[in-house]
Symmetry: C3
Subunit: 358 residues, 3 copies
């Protein structure tokens, strides 16, 4: 395991040391788990209380934060979490690949490989595939004929990259990702659904990361597009002809139906669903489990089903829990005024409620 002094680490992130700069650090850990030989970080002051009895050897903190923790060397930086992200690889370098083509790989004709490409065991590469410098393809992955993959990509185990796909540079597909499978499109024929052949492409920008077992369908006509620097979590479904802008965050199990447009910088909470052909404006934030059934304006904060502005939904939800009582009060008012409609039970016993709770 590599070791570094606090001075060496501070230099890497252009930090200012507050404490002993010769202290030796042997690892990184969370604020709760970090011991005297570890570096950790504090992004917000409220986490200070999580420091344990044996304080961390070094902590990345913001310039203005005062901790009063003895025996700890602080490294002051503008963005401690970002600095921490830069330091982790010093202690945990990525396993070095051995570039080359495994004997059990199946290579098509006319494949063009950049320098230092790694093709793992049991990989299948189709005809006329182009793979950029230093890209690494893990075992059990298939790349269909004609696909282009850029430089410095990491394609995980058991991925499928189908015809019509183009991946930029530094793309990372985690294990089990499917890029370019057929979208869900059918015409109604006299004998049932007739498949619309899916012939579009699937364009993945630079620095995109896609989580395990997620699926991004190819376009029906035209292309499905994922903008550069967009990050996609596990088990996400992205339908045909969806266009996701740059710098979006799409959390696990989100489903995006066909032909949706998502503006740059938007974020979608886990398990949210977007109906087909809608537009989510740039910078919009869609809450977890939302069901979006109408366009969402730029910068808006939506949640619920059907999705509405966050504060509106929360107010309505909270009011909803006061409703059973309000119905009782309304009945009392009607009785006071002699207005109760015949046939409506005047008291609070609600047959629907008991029916629901069986």
């Amino acid at each position: 395991m590599p070791t570094f002094t606090v001075a060496e680490l501070a230099r890497r992130v252009a930090g200012v040391i507050d404490g002993d700069d010769r202290r030796v650090i042997t690892g990184v850990a969370s604020i709760e788990a970090a011991g005297p030989d570890d570096l950790t970080f504090i992004a917000e002051e409220r986490y200070v209380g999580r420091i344990g009895a044996r304080p961390p050897g070094s902590i990345l903190v913001e310039p203005g934060l005062h901790l009063g923790v003895p025996d700890t060397s602080l490294i002051r930086v503008g963005n401690p979490y970002l600095a921490f992200a830069e330091i982790i690889p010093l202690f945990h370098p990525s396993p070095t690949a051995r570039p080359g083509i495994a004997p059990s790989a199946t290579m098509g004709r006319g494949v063009r490989l950049g320098d230092h490409v790694t093709i793992g065991p049991h990989v299948v590469i189709g005809d006329a595939v182009k793979i950029g410098h230093r890209t690494r393809i893990e075992p059990f992955t298939v790349v269909e004929a004609g696909v282009h993959i850029g430089d410095d990509c990491r394609i995980g185990y058991s991925c499928s990259i189908l015809a019509g796909a183009r991946l930029g540079d530094r793309v990372q597909l985690h294990t089990g990702v499917r890029v370019g499978a057929d979208g869900f499109g059918y015409a109604r024929g006299p004998m049932g659904a007739v498949k619309i052949p899916q012939i579009g492409g699937c364009l993945i920008g630079d620095d995109v990361e896609i989580g395990a077992n997620s699926t991004v369908d190819r376009g029906a006509l035209g292309d499905t597009v994922i903008g550069s620097r967009t990050k996609i979590d596990n088990l996400v479904h992205i339908g045909h002809n969806v266009r996701v802008g740059e710098d979006c965050m799409i959390v696990a199990q989100v489903g995006i139906a066909g032909s949706v447009r998502i503006g740059a910088g938007a974020s979608l909470g886990g398990q949210a669903g977007i109906s087909g052909h809608l537009t989510i404006g740039p910078g919009a934030r869609i809450g977890a489990q939302s069901g979006v059934t109408k366009d969402v304006p730029a910068g808006a904060d939506y949640c619920g089903f059907p999705a509405r502005p966050f504060h509106e939904v929360m107010k309505a939800k909270a009011a909803g829990f006061r409703l059973p009582d309000a119905l009782r009060r309304l009945s009392a008012v009607e009785r006071e005024l002699g207005m109760g409609s015949p046939g409506r039970a005047p008291d609070a016993t609600d047959p629907d409620a008991s029916e629901e709770s069986t």
Copy 2:
């Protein structure tokens, strides 16, 4: 790339030409993207406005639609979208497979193969498997012992077809589909959950298509059944002993719990969930993200959680957004009548609401 005259294309779909029948078409495209050499289609009149400055060379339209677009050869047919589906493969023929068994495939004993079967590299076929004519199995797929697969099937990359499965003809499994894995069944024992061995089968009808990374579990006892011509999108979960009828449409990320019955022609919107042992009637439509907790009658249109008839849900939802105001109005009425209960805040400030929005 193949080319066709408008006359040739019209003949294929029994269409009537309105314009120059000798015009040469070199490709298909969406209404927005189609140029002077492309064929496109218009399914509904409201899409006419999407025609760009350089109009398409040819458009499939309904008999009665009048476009007033010069320099475009119309092909009039009863169902333009269906006709378009039939024409796409003329321009984009499926890649021709090279029938045969790849040297790196692992074949069991007593395997029966039809004519022109393609078994790709790194495929594993178990003992006594039967595979019909012209069926194609892509790399990294496993077919367990005793499985039967019909004629003209396309089994994608990295699929798993486990013991007890029977697939009809023209079945298409996209990459990563799991058919016949164990269902989720446990008895409560003195030392925790005890697994119920899952020994049933998984029967997939003719012309079924299943999307990437979807899972269809085998029956616990008896079979899980997917009816002919049913189409299933990506990342769908179908539990043990579910019986889906013919001609159903199941959109991405739907989850169907064990022993559910779904009638013929039903459609389930994306991310909908159906609780165990329920019956969804034939032709019912379940909205996206619905949570179905009771049987749904034939032909009904349900949505929401717990799912209720569509119009009822939408009326209640809309009313819900008027509720905070209604609570204020009710309090005002009570004050007017001198009825306000003690201890209830007479104004609209709702502590629950602010609690919710943190």
Copy 3:
């Protein structure tokens, strides 16, 4: 197919026979499908009516249940379903594996294998992997360097077990499971999201079962932990640093965000989602499709979005369906009192409602 007498079967589950103990049983079946040669079970009296015209040869029932079914040998046991689970494998023994390493497997250096281990075709095992006795690894599965897997595990087809994972004994991963892929963690940098290297582990306890295509991410720092005897269904997402206790039940398509703690014996219904950093108390029950946004106390029964106690939610939902009518009644009361605010439509026509139903 093996056969057993009722006496032999009763002895296996310490049952008391009520009827002919020499009757020969040749298979197991559900209550609806069981015929004169089959054994079935009845867990609850209400299922008695499902017995068909040709009654089952033998039925496992509780001591006190009286059926009045002639020609059926009852076997009385305390827990009929559990006894049935024990008898199924007598009729359906697991296929016997042929221990050994397939020639097409790729083995790393320093791999330690227990006795009778089965490594299937096209498996990739990394350096210094340790695999316990009688464990079986199916084709197309990868086990990264340094992973430990216990005794008697069943690792299905096309699984990925990545660096930092440790699996206990008798773990069963179904096909397509991903254990130890990167979690979803980014710092905000000046040029967009910066990946936080994910360096933690993924600890899976004894007797854990994980369903097809589910994903359990490795910890960011520290470990993701799944407690012993916990059962996880298909297409479930478990984020980084989640800690699931022992004996939990997690139904299909559940999503658990990062750093959630779930107490022992908790159950999560299908498609439920848990927001990051929350705590679900031991024994809590979270309903299907719930969206949990706050901690849930031990033993509580929560549902809905945002999740609240079950009875509260159901009461509010049921009242919600009476709301459109209540708004009309409130308007009538206001008119009676001369209180209607100007600008508010005095009748029940709700423009929002019609807007929603388009």
